[in-house]
Symmetry: C2
Subunit: 111 residues, 2 copies
DNA sequence: CAAACAATATATAAATATATATATTGTTGT
DNA sequence: ACAACAATATATATATTTATATATTGTTTG
């Protein structure tokens, strides 16, 4: 048996896969993806997100809760409103790539 | 109300999100991610994947079935073995980014 | 054609995730 | 302090995914 450095060892690969899948699961939900998409454009409060994305409040709250507990968004309270923003730079990189690959530039957008 | 071009309209955004989430769901499973990772390095047959990743045969077959039905892998039969490879260039781009972001280069690897 | 083996398919129990309704907490302005 | 409103929390039915056991299909070689 060859336990030397011919390939990345399986355990290490598994570890990386577990971490990566954690991130991917966060993104693999339409509401959360839309939320992160919108937040990648800049900070938004919940009522803005509700209006801009057409996601109803309880769903919004549940999914923002997921994003908070996973630490991918930061929150800031201002008066009655809580403003959300993307806290993970890596997440922004992934969103940017996904946008480039799958988001149609509506009409002419200087491709 | 302003229905003009101030922002990407919600329906179009939803459509893109639905498609993108479809891709992300494929990736958001540890076994499938490992499979695609390995396949991104080049064509492999099932028994090779089983040995290299330590995934048991039925799981392997089930998850390769998902990848096949989603059209992200291509297959080629050679004798008793079926060789798999990644069929979607976009998938390779995503895998490359994920690798860069989350896969630890073991030991020195010229960063 | 039959044995041996590689791969695929099916079935189902268990675990997760999602949608939706309803209740609670926290902040502001009077 | 209380009314009004923004946000969060909880509960649960439904749907989707995953793990695991078992059966079937297909190919090669004698």
């Amino acid at each position: 048996m060859d336990t030397s450095a011919t390939m990345v060892d399986v355990e290490e690969l598994r570890g990386a896969a577990t971490r990566t899948v954690g991130v991917l699961k966060i993104l693999a939900n339409e509401d959360r993806l839309l939320l992160l998409c919108q937040l990648s454009q800049g900070e938004r409060c919940v009522s803005e997100l509700e209006e801009q994305l057409g996601i109803r409040q309880p769903t919004l709250s549940q999914q923002l809760g997921v994003l908070r507990s996973e630490g991918v968004v930061a929150t800031r309270r201002q008066g009655k409103n809580i403003y959300y923003s993307v806290a993970e730079p890596a997440m922004l990189e992934i969103l940017a790539l996904l946008y480039r690959l799958y988001c149609p530039r509506s009409e002419s957008d200087g491709d």
